[in-house]
Amino acid sequence: MNRRRPLLAVVWWCVLLWLYVPLLAVAVMSFNASRFGVQWSGFSLTWYAALLSDREVAAALVNSLIVSGTATLLSTLLGTLLAVGLSKHHFRGKRLVEASASLPMLTPDIILGVSMVVYFTMLGISLGYGTIIASHIAYQIPFVAFIVRAGLQSLDPALEDAARDLGAGEWQVLTRVTLPSARWSIAAAAVTAFALSFDDFVITFFTAGSGTGTLPLQIYSMLKRGVSPKVNALFTILMVAGVLLAGAASLLAGRRSADSADFADQ
């Protein structure tokens, strides 16, 4: 497929331009000294300074880090175990577990949000950070399991067999061979899970109740108040953070394939 395809290249560049121009526009505006309109009136870091001294934003960021950190830790643990169980063992009802483990990925997040509110209300559990974290974990587990399973599949089964032949028990095989060799996939899964939780607005919005503030909730209320240069600055920072997370996840996934190549060589 190495023929030159000028028409495809034109479409590609147009789409790329269309994808990035709006984001770059926000980034450029965040350095604009002018408060209103799109007239450029000089480079300025005013809005970043204003953002840094905004206590509400700082508090929301801390809340978000705690919520997403906790949810990521637990979902990575549960999701990794799920991946191990699904890829290494056959048991009755496995298809059912597989299906219900992939359904949350296909369920529109608003349905998850509504269902959680109805459920928590029925159980008399008051909405707050606990319910946000609990919902995020359910949302993250399938993605973690999916990524870790892909990593486990590229692992040479001969390694585990060798460990068994050398007298290792099931638990030792898991903790000394299987999990260490899947470490980069697990790390990639954790980064992805964190990004999913940190960026989530809809599920959080429904399960938050009043008196809670994570960063996306804070952003939403700022947006409802209209376009402000401070929002531009905040978004530019989040964009850079997103690029870093994406880069980290793809590097980790790359290490995964490098790892399995190493194993194949040995």
Binding site: R3, V11, L19, L82, P104, D109, F201, L238
Partner: protein, 276 residues
């Protein structure tokens, strides 16, 4: 066999905090009658959803989700073809297309507000070029929502289409070209038919996500265009009418489940497309 149990904590978690909540909401709460003194299950909530107000919300949602899926497919296909054709640059190009997925959904929509609003870039440019005299209101329209939905869903479509196209044997296109087929003919008669399964998956996936969208219609529609997401949110948070929201959720869920079945079927077709 100690390890056969490793899947159980997560399975239990998903059962208690995904399967049960969704089933309870869709199959139990949706049947609850909110009328005072009413007893037993009733279809009152579903009957309420048949009121013209709600029917038009459903119609708008389906139309916009269908359009979004169609545009994503039409734009995503050539993009995926281009990425596949640049063999060495594939990973980098894929990363370029998928980067927006790593950005906050609120930001992706906000970026378009900055472009489209009355004091925004688009009006600025159009007035500067002398094409229009007065700033035009691009925001808060079906068009703005469609633009936002395509913008936020295109990466998914490209990734799915790429996965199918990448598996095709380049020798087949070469053969078609050597036998005298033009680029267009090769595309229509060789490449596209083999990618039919992947195209179906991409279309259905984007459609399902589009049905449940909330942020885009809220920010770019500004309350003037109401989709199901906004309806559900207002029933839960403003009206406190959980049963009606539950009934609406069931409708969306049923469509999503029907799509899942189609999805699995199409997925099997994709599996069969591997070069033999």
């Amino acid at each position: 066999m100690l390890l056969a149990a490793t899947a159980s904590p997560a399975a239990l978690y998903l059962l208690l905090l995904f399967v049960v909540p969704v089933l309870l909401t869709t199959c139990y709460t949706s049947l609850r009658d909110t009328q005072p003194g009413a007893r037993g299950p009733s279809l009152a909530n579903f009957a309420a959803l048949l009121e013209p107000v709600y029917l038009s919300v459903f119609a708008t949602t389906f139309r916009l989700a269908l359009l979004t899926a169609a545009v994503c497919l039409a734009v995503g296909f050539p993009v995926a073809l281009y990425i596949v054709s640049r063999v060495k640059a594939r990973p980098f190009l894929l990363l370029l297309v998928s980067l927006p997925m790593w950005t906050n959904l609120l930001l992706l929509n906000y970026a378009w507000i900055v472009i489209l609003r009355r004091e925004g870039f688009l009006n600025h440019v159009l007035i500067g070029l002398g094409l229009i005299g007065e700033p035009a209101g691009f925001l808060f329209s079906h068009g703005a929502i469609l633009l936002g939905l395509v913008y936020t869903h295109l990466p998914y479509a490209v990734l799915i289409l790429y996965a199918t196209l990448e598996r095709q044997d380049p020798a087949q296109t070469e053969a078609a070209r050597d036998l005298g087929a033009g680029a267009f003919q090769t595309l229509v008669r060789v490449v596209a038919p083999q990618a039919a399964g992947g195209m179906t998956v991409a279309f259905l996936f984007v459609f399902a996500l589009g049905l449940g969208s909330y942020v885009t219609p809220e920010l770019l529609g500004g309350g003037k265009v109401v989709m199901i997401g906004t309806l559900l949110q207002s029933q839960v948070m403003e009206m406190g009418n959980l049963p009606l929201a539950a009934a609406g959720s069931l409708c969306v869920m049923l469509v999503a489940l029907a799509l899942l079945a189609a999805f699995l079927f199409a997925g099997r077709q994709v599996g069969e497309e591997r070069p033999r």
